[in-house]
Amino acid sequence: MSTAVEVPPGTAPPARPRRSLTSRPTGADIVFHRVTSTSAIIVLGIMLLVGSFLALRAADALSVAKLDFLTETKWEPDAHHFGIAGVLTGTVLIGLVAILFAVPLATATALYISEYAPARLQRTFITLIDLMAAVPSVVYGLWGFFFLQNQVVPLAQWISERFGWLPFLGIDTEGYVKGSATSQNTVFTSSTFIAGIVVAFMVTPIMCALMREAFSQAPIGEREGAYALGSTKWGMIRTVVLPFGKGGIIGGSMLGLGRALGETIAVYMVLSVVPAFQPNIFQNGGSSVSSLIALRYGEAQEFSLSALFAAGLALFLMTMAINFTASTIVARSRSGAESG
């Protein structure tokens, strides 16, 4: 869309060659081009520096750990026993808990804003959701640790004691007696579950914004058509809005997942970090790559620092892949909606 002038094909007389539209740039234009391209090169340089530095430092650790890096659950880089199987599992579990809570919340809120809310209040709600996205993560962390945790512990205990036989939901703490109210606090606090819920509230607004945008683009003709056929509002949503917004839902959820995986400080505040394989989401202790970095960077020697870089690289690659997939889906759904 930024091409300056387009001559519609076929309008020029076929006999005469088309006049070239290129113009000689003025001196100022050359300077303008130089300045902007230099800044683009600088930015690109910084980005590539970050990326390559990450890869380079990670390579030190990876060359020692080799494939064990993917399967080892312990994190003792100084002893050359380290891998991301443990911390990455923790990270993914937090991310999954987060989207488990965030996706219904975000979808419902997006539907509410785009379909149910009175037209006058729509903008207000949109602003509120954007505002929620702007709340600093440390505030969510504080709230999660001091407020939410106490509310969630009984729920966590309730679920865990009834569905503990399912994978990820059990408790394998030694000495824990089922149903004992006395030790619930030390068993069920600082868990992956609570960290996941806190992160869920952080990523919900981002998801919601994308979904709402997708929903609002559902074509009016189909909406009216559905109503004309006697559909209820929900029927219309199910047959028109949701199919059209599918890309937005999937893309938004993935983008939210990407953010959830990288979140540091809120997780670090809530979770008791144990860099090991700990699949029980309700149980005290868990791990995530970013909180591992926050915890261990200071005491890390040369080699352990590169091990942290390796973990960081793995996390980055994962979030990057998720983000790219998400933006592709969102972009495709957008173009689809426009044509439809």
């Binding site: 930015v43 419902a108 509410y112 600093p136 209820t232 261990r296």
Partner: protein, 935 residues
């Protein structure tokens, strides 16, 4: 983002038509709400509430969340049934969907209000004091009331860091976005892809990158600049992407019109593209800045920590608001937690204000103008027509962006300028330059006290005592701090790896003695236990997962006077590399090898397991890991965390008002790590006296573990400062001078406070040796007359007066069938050995700074995890969490919900929440009204 959102099903009513008889036809309402629907909804709600109430009284349902879940499920059922009475299945589904969607949206709104409200309510206590904004924490101790101390240093830090970050990112980001849009091509495509990839970069990695490059590799200090760089790396892709999107929305016809007039490329950009997207660009920048201000993790790794004002971002650590909030709430002291919430609330308000400004500016899409702007343009173009040739002042494009930056820069400068005057004044009195150090949290309470005391001499010492010894040794080695503090020296092998010493010359200097204490949180019949006794073997069994219940037979044997409860023991260990852990594991590995080795092995470490700085934790063993001494003691001190026990320096127990376990010594007495008992214990410490050795003055504690004196505390040790002996990197002789003066202070006069802080003063020979070490620091000047030091251990008659005069333990502390009832640590209230019903007296005297006469039984316990709330109006403690045990509590089954659901506090919270709803809703409404003026 600001795409058309009003594309709702547009069903239009036909215009009213006149009837023949002149009356208006009443149009049929096409709204879907009928009276029956409302009745069904209300009926279902009522029925669900009633059924839930009945269920709750019949079944043991715990917690408000469980009630809500059950109630909601019932409501859905009833509602479906009621609607189904007269509607089709399709309508029932629609109603249910509508109900669920409304509920979920409401939940999200509630969460937003709770997040904002909770922070503001808890932070409000600190925020109402003006000093909160005008003072820093330099001379404020954590236990001081909220009327002293503040976050000026963090505010200044945040403003400066974000200003620097904006100066870097705004020109670079906007120019790059312009390039991406104006010069499309392969390079632009690549650049756009890379930028997009970088938006996925987790912010902690941005911090890690700057930490590894700027601090570790290039050897700079942690500083405001480092933090600003980290924020920049994180913000840059965000700003570029947002700006890119905004620029892309500039209508093509505007540009083409400009080209059609013969305007050159750059003029088109300058006069058409940038002005058109001005509001969008400003919004992008402000939102990026809000993100940068609020992000903690990049700053956590790069800014360092200080509690005094540092207006110079180039030198020394400079804390920012999120970091200050993060570290303050980790303190066990209620006042510090409140300050942390106050900081977070301030940060929140700052971000929200920025957000509202961004909304007001950026509510319009590109090219959309309000009436005023449109009139202005009309006027302008008329004027332009008249004097087309001599166009003068142009509305410049980036002006708004620059203006936003300028405002922030001005704020930063203003902050800098207003603070300036105080600095030259203090600089004139003396010529101390600020120094910074990090390391041990074991001795941090003493160092923080000393650092506050030397402020009056004009010395500025930044000590990051939350870091841990491993970090301290590492940062000292990397020359990012001027001194380190650690309990263990370099060169020890941990997990098969030797901790390499620095390549430059350095020396150890003992700073203070103390006891590694076992702080616990235990109640019997609702009463807090303050006189627990444990043998070394039992400590080892607890911390190796062998003893898992408090009523373990061997623990019972230690405590003949206590009816030990059948409660799980929760050992709380350090998750970071720690000198305290190293002290404990040295003792475990030397004295209890048979317990330690199998445990260590089962946790995946290689055996024989010697000393280690990071505690091996087995997943599922019921251990909890927290970082820093504040972290572990804070965890134990949480009221609901009953059954926990941790290892920290004695002072932490004193500060939090919690008891410590008396430890059995060789002679058969259970002793507490008081100053005297530590001094006695350390008489048997073996100090490296070879002045030529690199480990000169370091300790070997085997003798202390087995000290046969009845008063000796077996886990006594010294803490060491590691000082540089040569100028290198950021360390200069000027800094050496400050460091030496500081060391001379704490080695001499500082020692007299050791006892009151929960430490034990150094004996004369170590003070002398320390002072000799100080002389080796480059830049050291002046000598100290050791005989003038007011050190309680000094005497002409004995090498350590304190040890000589230390009291012998009473007979009831001897292993056997009796047990003293007196309290320990920060909880001096005695524990009745027989079962009594809540007769113990109120608050202890343990240095919590807020001794108050709690009114047992009448007040409601405060907000759960946070003990000791102070009523802002009366200044009286509402509830003293540390000692709430003084209320009779029957039974041990206590639910958390109970702490919340009762009393006026909840009602107040609700009212405050409603008020907050207004506060939260108001800005967007105002913004909307402001915008509404546009037709």
């Amino acid at each position: 983002m600001s795409v058309d959102t009003t594309s709702r099903p547009a069903t239009f009513l036909p215009t009213r038509t006149e009837r023949q008889d002149g009356t208006h036809a009443v149009p049929r309402s096409i709204g879907t709400i009928k009276r029956d629907d409302v009745l069904a909804l209300v009926g279902a709600l009522g029925a669900a509430a009633a059924t839930t109430a009945a269920l709750v009284s019949l079944m043991p349902i715990t917690g408000p969340i469980a009630c809500a879940v059950i109630g909601y499920a019932l409501f859905l059922g009833y509602y479906a049934a009621l609607v189904a009475l007269e509607e089709s299945a399709q309508v029932v589904r629609a109603r249910l969907a509508s109900a669920v969607i409304h509920t979920l949206s409401l939940i999200l709104l509630t969460v937003l209000i709770l997040v904002v409200g909770y922070t503001l309510v808890r932070g409000g206590e600190a925020m109402v004091h003006w000093n909160f904004y005008t003072q820093d924490m330099e001379v404020t101790r954590p236990t001081d009331p909220l009327t002293v101390g503040g976050i000026k240093h963090a505010i200044v830090g945040t403003l400066e860091q974000i200003t620097i970050a904006l100066i870097i990112t705004v020109p670079l980001g906007v120019l790059c976005a312009v390039y991406l849009n104006e010069f499309p091509g392969r390079f632009a495509r690549v650049a756009r892809t890379v930028v997009e990839a970088m938006t996925a970069l987790p912010s902690v990695i941005a911090g890690l990158f700057i930490y590894a490059v700027w601090i570790v590799a290039l050897g700079h200090e942690k500083s405001g600049y480092a933090a600003a760089f980290a924020i920049s790396v994180m913000m840059l892709p965000i700003i570029i992407r947002a700006a890119d999107v905004v620029l892309r929305l500039v209508p093509g016809h505007l540009k083409e019109a400009s080209y059609a007039l013969g305007t050159s490329h750059w003029r088109t950009v300058w006069h058409v593209v940038l002005p058109t997207s001005r509001s969008g660009l400003t919004t992008a920048v402000i939102l990026g800045a809000a993100r940068g201000i609020g992000e903690t993790s990049p700053v956590l790794l790069t800014a360092g920590f200080n509690n005094a004002l540092n207006a110079n971002p180039a030198k020394g650590p400079q804390v920012s608001l999120p970091l200050q909030a993060f570290s303050a709430v980790r303190s066990p002291q209620e006042a510090m937690v409140t300050r942390g919430f106050g900081t977070a609330a301030f940060l929140l308000i700052l971000v929200l204000v920025m957000f509202v400004i961004a909304r007001i500016i950026g509510g319009r899409g590109p090219g959309q103008l309000n009436a005023r702007q449109r009139r202005k343009i009309a006027r302008d173009s008329q004027r332009d027509q008249q004097r087309f040739a001599q166009r003068s002042a142009q509305r410049s494009a980036g002006r708004a962006v620059i203006r936003a930056g300028a405002v922030l820069a001005a704020l930063g400068l203003l902050a800098g300028v207003t603070l300036r005057p105080s600095q030259p004044a203090s600089a004139a009195d003396n010529s101390y330059v600020p120094i910074s150090g990090s390391g041990s949290s074991w001795s941090a309470n003493a160092i923080k006290d000393w650092q506050a005391n030397v402020v009056k001499y004009g010395m500025k010492v930044n000590y990051n005592g939350d870091a841990g010894s491993s970090v301290g040794r590492n940062e000292f080695k990397n020359a990012t701090v001027d001194f380190g503090v650690s309990e263990i020296p370099y060169g020890l092998t941990d997990g098969g790896v030797t901790d390499q010493p620095p390549t430059f010359k350095y020396a150890y200097m003992p700073i203070v003695a103390g006891g590694t204490a076992f702080m616990y949180n235990l109640k019997i019949g609702g009463k807090k236990v303050t006189n627990l006794r444990l043998s070394g073997t039992n400590i080892a069994r607890i911390f190796t997962g062998k003893a898992t219940m408090w009523n373990d037979a061997a623990i019972k044997k230690d405590n003949p006077g206590l009816a030990m409860p059948a409660r799980r023991i929760v050992p709380v260990v350090r998750s970071d590399g720690s000198g305290t852990t190293a002290q404990l594991t040295t003792w475990l590995s030397k004295r209890y090898q048979s317990l330690w080795d199998p445990y260590c092995k089962s946790a995946g470490r290689s055996t024989p397991c010697g000393i280690t700085s990071s505690y091996p934790v087995k997943s599922g063993s019921g251990f909890t890991a927290q970082s820093g001494s504040l972290g572990v003691s804070g965890y134990v001190a949480q009221k609901q965390n009953e059954g926990t026990i941790t290892y920290v320096e004695y002072s932490y127990a004193r500060n939090t008002g919690f008891p410590v376990a008396k430890l059995l010594n060789k002679k058969g007495y259970y002793v507490e790590p008081t100053a005297g008992n530590v001094a006695v214990g350390l008489l048997k410490a073996q100090i490296n006296n070879n002045a030529g050795s690199v480990n000169y003055l370091t300790q070997i504690l085997d003798g202390v573990y087995d000290n046969p004196d009845a008063r000796a505390y077996p886990l006594s040790s010294y803490s060491y400062m590691i000082v540089p002996l040569e100028v290198r990197g950021a360390f200069s002789t000027a800094k050496g001078k400050t460091l030496a003066a500081f060391a001379n202070y704490f080695l001499c006069d500082g020692q007299q406070q050791a006892d009151s802080l929960g430490y034990s003063p150094l004996p004369r020979n170590l003070v002398q040796a320390g002072l000799n070490q100080v002389k080796r620091i480059p830049g050291s000047s002046g000598t100290v007359d050791i005989s003038k030091c007011r050190n309680p251990t000094f005497s002409s008659s004995s090498p350590n007066l304190l040890a000589t005069t230390a009291k012998f333990p009473p007979a009831c502390d001897k292993a056997g069938t009796t047990q003293c009832t007196t309290g320990t640590g920060g909880a001096q209230a005695p524990t009745g050995t027989s079962s009594g019903g809540g007769t113990t007296t109120g608050n202890g005297t343990g240095g919590t700074g807020s001794p108050g006469t709690g009114t047992p039984g009448t007040e409601v316990p405060g907000a759960g995890s946070t003990p000791g709330t102070i009523d802002p109006d009366t200044g009286q403690p509402i509830a003293d969490g540390g000692e709430t045990s003084s209320q009779p509590v029957s039974g041990t089954a206590q639910t958390l919900g109970a702490d919340y659901s009762t009393g006026t506090q909840t009602a107040l919270m609700v009212i405050a929440g409603l008020a907050l709803l207004l506060v939260v809703m108001l800005p967007p409404l105002v913004a909307q009204l402001a915008r509404r003026r546009t037709p």
